[in-house]
Symmetry: C2
Subunit: 207 residues, 2 copies
């Protein structure tokens, strides 16, 4: 992406990237994102956001505030937490994380084929291949679903990795310092009553 004045933070500018491949990889891994928009003041809601090509798609109920307000300016931010960074000083404590900020105008998708592609991608994000292993929406269900489409044109990634920064003067302090890696893992799948089909793969590894 081309950097814009709206996606070029001052803070830790060296950690910010406008590289498409990195932006895509983060958006394709994060399952929960947060969408922000004005709704009688700033409002931020958790959503599942999926990327298809150079657009991000977010599904909502047709009755939701966001669906009723579209088209509108939004910001969708996806954050993947990779680790806790414990430094010798409070000041250098941090989190290792990869995040993408997408700013742009969200429009309602009106084309049924595009709606179905976005919904299939959403289902497959949670469990790969799952859109072929569950029932597609009826006309009534489709009518209850609104899809927002946001272009990736104005987006940026921010990545922090590696050990804590330490001030030279702190190095001899007797405290532990280092990184505790963090990740999301899946537990034992809990089938509903009477379900005999094998449990599907999900986007998360079992520890």
């Amino acid at each position: 992406m081309e950097p814009s004045t709206r996606t070029s933070p001052h803070r830790h500018a060296e950690r910010v990237s406008h590289e498409d491949a990195l932006i895509h990889a983060i958006l394709d891994e994060a399952v929960v994102a947060h969408i922000g928009f004005d709704n009688d003041g700033p409002l931020v809601l958790p959503v599942v956001a999926v990327r298809i090509g150079e657009h991000l798609y977010v599904h909502l109920s047709t009755g939701s505030g966001a669906a009723l307000r579209a088209p509108m300016e939004v910001c969708v931010t996806a954050t993947i937490l990779d680790g806790a960074v414990l430094a010798k000083s409070w000041f250098h404590h941090s989190l290792n994380a990869r995040s993408v900020v997408v700013r742009g105008r969200a429009e309602l998708v009106t084309d049924t084929a595009e709606t179905l592609r976005a919904l299939a991608a959403t289902i497959d994000r949670v469990a790969p291949g799952r859109s072929s292993a569950s029932r597609p929406p009826s006309a009534r269900e489709l009518a209850a679903t609104a899809i927002l489409r946001i272009p990736l044109a104005e987006s940026s990634a921010k990545v922090r990795t590696g050990p804590p920064v330490e001030d030279e003067a702190d190095l001899d302090l007797p405290f532990w310092s280092g990184v505790v890696p963090l990740r999301i893992v899946a537990g034992q799948a809990q089938p509903g009553p009477g379900v005999e089909a094998p449990a599907p793969a999900t986007a998360w590894s079992v520890p």
Copy 2:
């Protein structure tokens, strides 16, 4: 909290709560939150938000856009992902999650004691007790840190738990359905060079 028109969503209203104990518990467990505010359009950024009493505190760099704009209206949303909900139909796929939305006016903290309390809580959120096991900030470091304080007066929680909703007509479809529990776990702690102190406990369990 008293419900306000700004924290009473239409969608799945039965999953929404204004109970203080629930709101506090979610805010006290989530490590990463997202703050939204207007900065030449909606902007959403990942932050660590900590609760002390009836306020939420978010630390930022003094040079950041949010710090420069305060006091300002914000929304801070914390989301804890608990599971993937796989239904027989696309439509009833969901995520089990607990989230809190806090809307209100963010003000810069000017009192040093309050700043230190908020920073200590932030460090301890990541690793309990860690604020006593690392060096507190110098005057220069404090000057580089801005703390936003947001009242919890206008906040609400939303919780989805349990198995998928299924339509009666879908029950005999041959697909797996159920819940895959998800959680964040810590991996093996990676000490920095020369660190010999024992690794601290963190907010996450080791699988």
